[in-house]
């Protein structure tokens, strides 16, 4: 075992290992989450009982749960979820990648910021809901139009978070890197982006939930498959409101899962700083 390896192992035993939340604390949190979910379901059921709405207007949680399980068991849900998932993940990946590059450029060049900022703000101020029909018209109702919409919606929060994060990097670290003759690319890759990572990942956390919205908006504007299409079908030709709710629950679960994955990635990458 090398000296460095030996030192590393000893250090892992002695220092640098942060205490995690104790098991009792974690159990307490899980109980709280379960209780709040139970309270939500109870209120929902109470509203159904008190209002007397029929299930084609407001189905109760049991009806929705039953339809949710059936839709999954029959294999109706998965193809739509798969399509939406592809749109969300691909659109998010492309949008986030372009946004990080643009954020770095905006942070390092005042000229780029002055030239691009008005367009960025204007694009952000225009609701994607209004742009979606146009995008579907231009790019067709296949995957491409969904990717364009999702990329657009992810771009802004990630680009701004990257710009703000990189502008906030301690200038003394940049001077330190320059003293070791770091090139511009080395400064970006090894100092600025890692230092700005908490901010960038914060932007991505917002971006991943917006990506789900982007994909659904794209599917509503025109598409053959996807959870958004299923919601439209359930409301329209099928007139199966419990199925619509089951699709909404699926969508909510998808959004929460993706958000939690981002939180885990964030903890893994910046948690130990």
């Amino acid at each position: 075992m090398s000296a460095v390896e030996h030192g590393r192992r000893r250090a892992q035993r002695n220092v640098g290992v942060r205490p995690r939340l104790d098991p009792a604390g974690r159990t307490g949190n899980a109980v709280l989450v379960a209780l709040s979910l139970a309270a939500f379901l109870l209120v929902w059921q109470l509203v159904v009982w008190v209002s007397g709405f029929k299930s084609f207007i407001l189905p109760g949680p049991y009806t929705v749960a039953e339809r949710f399980v059936r839709a999954w068991a029959e294999g109706m849900m998965w193809p739509h979820v798969q399509q939406t998932l592809v749109e969300v993940l691909l659109g998010f990946a492309i949008g986030a990648l372009v946004a990080v590059a643009a954020g770095v450029l905006l942070a390092r060049s005042r000229l780029a910021e002055r030239l691009l900022s008005p367009y960025l703000v204007a694009a952000q101020a225009t609701p994607v809901l209004a742009l979606a029909p146009l995008i579907v018209l231009w790019f067709g109702n296949g995957l491409l139009s969904k990717l364009v919409i999702t990329t657009l919606i992810v771009f802004f929060p990630v680009a701004i978070a990257t710009m703000v994060g990189i502008r906030g990097v301690d200038r003394r670290l940049l001077e330190m890197a320059r003293s070791f003759r770091a090139t511009d690319w080395q400064v970006i890759r090894r100092v600025e982006v890692p230092a700005a990572l908490p901010s960038i990942l914060g932007g991505m956390r917002v971006g991943i939930t917006l990506a789900v919205i982007g994909a659904i908006v794209g599917e509503w504007a025109g598409g053959e498959k996807g959870v958004g299409v299923l919601i439209n079908l359930a409301r329209g030709s099928l007139f199966d409101i419990p199925l619509m709710f089951a699709a909404l629950v699926t969508l909510a679960l998808l959004g929460v899962t993706l958000y939690l994955v981002m939180v885990l990635v964030e903890r893994r990458l910046v948690g130990e700083r």
Binding site: S2, A3, V4, H6, G7, R8, R9, R10, A11, Q12, N14, V15, G16, R172, L173, E175, M176, A177, R178, S179, F180, R181, A182, T183, Q186, R190, V191, P194, A195, L197, V270, E272, R273
Partner: protein
Amino acid sequence: MTTAGEALMTGPGRVAPAGILVDDVSLTFDGSRPTPVLDRLRLEVRPREIVALIGPNGCGKSTLLRVIAGLLAPDEGSVSIDGRVVAAPDERVGLVFQEPRLLAWRSVEANVRFPLELAGWPRDRQRARVGELLDLMAILEVAAARPSTLSGGTAQRVAIARALALEPSVLLLDEPFTALDALTRERLNVELQALWERSAATIVLVTHSIPEAVFLADRVVVLSPRPAHVVADVPVPIERPRRLADLDSAFVSTVAAEVRSHLAGAAEGAA
């Protein structure tokens, strides 16, 4: 295995000691009101010499260090190391800042490796060199630790190890121990002297502490208030290795008093 002495930047046969010439350097900071910082400053540092720069607050000591390191270009004059003009950050120079400036997301080991990665050293050489430096600075135990878990003294040791990574022949130290408590500071001064004794490094140290300057340096150069120029060059002819107890001797007190009087004179002259 390499011994600690050989591991240092300039073990025998590795890097030759280098002399520094600061030749009539002037520098003015631009802004709404241009501020002259250095005024035709001339300083010569012989190979393997330790020179301490001392002067009033804000006089331009750190700026001078950055000019020597190639981080700032002078308006007039030049800096050369072994006759070669410094025009940009130079691989022969290692710079230690007042704060450790460690990268929070990297372990100690990865922080020390940072300059080697930038310089494109092969991985096996990087590994070997980092091992030598961690051993040399007695920080092997914390190799995997994050900077946020280190004490101030240990963090500054890591910064020194990082500055030594590329085997520089000149080591520039910008008030490296200012933020530390008195005892840690004294211990690191002793360690720095031991490090220098095993090496052929030329060291320029910026400090506010007269005892630190007298303990470490062969010469103490006193700078005037801004714009800085040299007002006194006080030799410290005390045998090495020096011990902390030497600071209490009458001779050291005389040298320190001389430095103090030049410093006070420079400050009064400006007022």
